[in-house]
């Protein structure tokens, strides 16, 4: 295990963890329920680590990404249903990220939002065309590390650490009305969805194949999924905690993503504001690339096309056409004028519904000794895998009723 590669891998995972959905829901959760929803981020991160590790292990040992093996497991019809669900939810997520980028660039430059959406897509497509896979991932992940300003800002505002730590334990805050309880439940579902987006497993497992992972990389995989994702989730928790400290007491429940940047501006002024906005920009841009490529991976792998950015674009032509099409469709959605917050709501809603269909074949594959040999799931991975499968299935069933009853978490 190359220590430099491992460190870069962890740092990339940290910088790339937060996307527009986590940003939005972390800030809203903190302002609405204080520290009481930190445990939902912790739970989601553990789930993401469990399934991320499995998908990386499947890529390294079976040498096949999730969607190839998923079609084999589920068959054509159910596989098509999963593919369609995944494509739709990930496309909406991609559009939310592109819209988020345009918003953040508007906060930085004041240029018109539609123009910034177009320029964002051009820049993203240029980076995906020019850079090989490893450098696409690293560029956005490492630049996203500017998000660390949120963690430093939290320390600077001296939150009540004991109370914050208390939020790690699963809880239902006392004295909630029925409406507030429904809202709290909706936030749990939304946070789990935002942290465990299906595109992350597809991207991670395909990335493992792109980087030529083998059995020697299993430790890298495990460390990246635990340490990398764990540290990354601390950034989301920092946003939640700062929101609880700064926004909750003054009746702010951030209605636009730009308000979160005030968490860094409060202690550090303009420097903090700019670092926060730039960190958000690159984290969200990284997520836009991941969602776009994830859709291209999914459709290419499902139909057996050549795929990957380890090769030049002309060496995987249908894959190239696929990611260009996804990015342009995302741009079209943004240009219809639907606001970013609505896109985020739809993204988390559709994604949680698709999540059980994503994780079940992954678990069956990771359990299968004919593919995985001595690297098949042992008792801990099996137990955690099934536990989180039950959790995401329950969340998927509850998602639509909770969304309707709470008007998308609005109360």
């Amino acid at each position: 295990m190359n220590p430099l590669e491992l460190t870069l891998g962890i740092m990339t995972a940290v910088g790339g963890f937060v996307d527009i959905s986590e940003l939005v829901f972390a800030a809203k959760a903190g302002s609405t329920f204080g520290y009481a929803l930190i445990w939902a981020f912790v739970l989601g991160t553990i789930g993401m680590s469990v399934f991320g590790e499995m998908s990386g292990r499947v890529a390294a040992i079976a040498k096949q990404p999730v969607f190839n093996l998923m079609r084999h497991r589920l068959g054509l019809k159910l596989g098509l249903v999963t593919l369609m669900g995944s494509l739709i939810s990930t496309l909406i997520t991609c559009a939310a990220e592109v819209g988020g980028m345009a918003l953040i660039l508007n906060y930085l430059t004041g240029w018109p939002y539609p123009l910034l959406a177009l320029l964002s897509v051009i820049a993203l497509m240029a980076s995906m065309w020019i850079l090989p896979f490893k450098w696409i991932e690293r560029t956005y992940g490492l630049l996203g590390l500017m998000m660390i300003v949120f963690a430093v800002a939290l320390v600077a505002i001296h939150p009540p650490w004991a109370k914050l730590a208390g939020g790690i334990a699963p809880q239902v805050p006392p004295g909630l009305s029925t409406k507030e309880l429904l809202n709290y439940s909706y936030f749990i579902v939304a946070i789990l969805s935002a942290v465990m987006f299906p595109y992350e497993s597809y991207f991670y497992s395909s990335g493992g194949i792109e980087e030529g992972w083998g059995a020697k990389d299993l430790l890298t995989n495990r460390v990246t999924c635990t340490v990398g994702f764990g540290l990354g989730s601390l950034l989301a928790i920092a946003i939640l905690a700062s929101s609880a400290q700064l926004f909750g007491p003054i009746n702010v429940s951030p209605e636009i993503p730009g308000t979160s940047a005030l968490e860094a501006a409060t202690p550090f002024g303009k420097a903090g504001l700019l670092l926060a906005l730039l960190g958000m920009l690159f984290a969200v841009a990284g997520a836009a690339v991941e969602t776009c490529m994830s859709n291209a991976y999914a459709v290419s792998q499902f139909f057996g096309w050549e795929w990957g950015r380890h090769a030049k674009p002309s060496e995987a032509p249908r894959f190239t056409v696929a990611w260009i099409a996804v990015m342009l469709l995302a741009l079209l959605i943004v240009l219809t004028g639907v606001d970013v917050m609505s896109l985020v709501e739809y993204a988390v809603l559709f994604s949680i519904i698709v999540l059980p269909l994503t994780y079940l074949p992954l678990m069956l594959l990771a359990n299968d000794k004919s593919y995985m040999r001595e690297h098949a799931n042992r008792w801990l991975a099996k137990a955690l895998g099934w536990l989180f499968f039950v959790v995401v299935t329950a969340a998927a069933v509850a998602a639509i009723p909770l969304y309707l009853l709470t008007s998308g978490g609005g109360g």
Partner: protein, 117 residues
């Protein structure tokens, strides 16, 4: 796993990815052609690859839609071209020799070759 000794068609062959002798992706095992008949030994005679092979595996309306989008081309890969079946099906020859990889080669002509590192 050796090719076609005793094989479970659905769980071990159908919907597996196919790679050719140059390790390039060449589609998925979309259907399987069997030879033999009732009361006789059934053998896998060919793999069927392409949207044309979906007929019979999906509802009529969905196959109609698939044909409109992707056409109904289908390549027939004789069973003797199979080298190995594991997590993928490996073939003896290059994809083009078996009628595979054709759309990929066609779409390649649309993609500029410059600019990528």
């Amino acid at each position: 796993m050796s090719a076609l000794a005793n094989i479970k068609i659905v769980s071990q062959l159908l919907d597996l990815p196919i790679i050719d002798k140059d390790e390039r992706s060449c589609g998925i095992v979309d259907d399987i052609e069997l030879s033999g008949g009732a009361g006789k030994e059934l053998r896998v005679s060919a793999l069927l690859v392409g949207p044309g092979a979906y007929e019979g595996r999906m509802p009529r309306w969905l196959y109609w839609l698939t044909r409109k989008i992707a056409g109904d081309r289908m390549a027939r890969v004789p069973a003797d071209q199979i080298v190995e079946i594991g997590s993928v099906v490996k073939l003896k020859s290059r994809g083009e020799a078996l009628g595979l990889h054709t759309v990929e080669d066609e779409v390649r002509t649309w993609i500029p070759r410059k600019g990528a590192l």
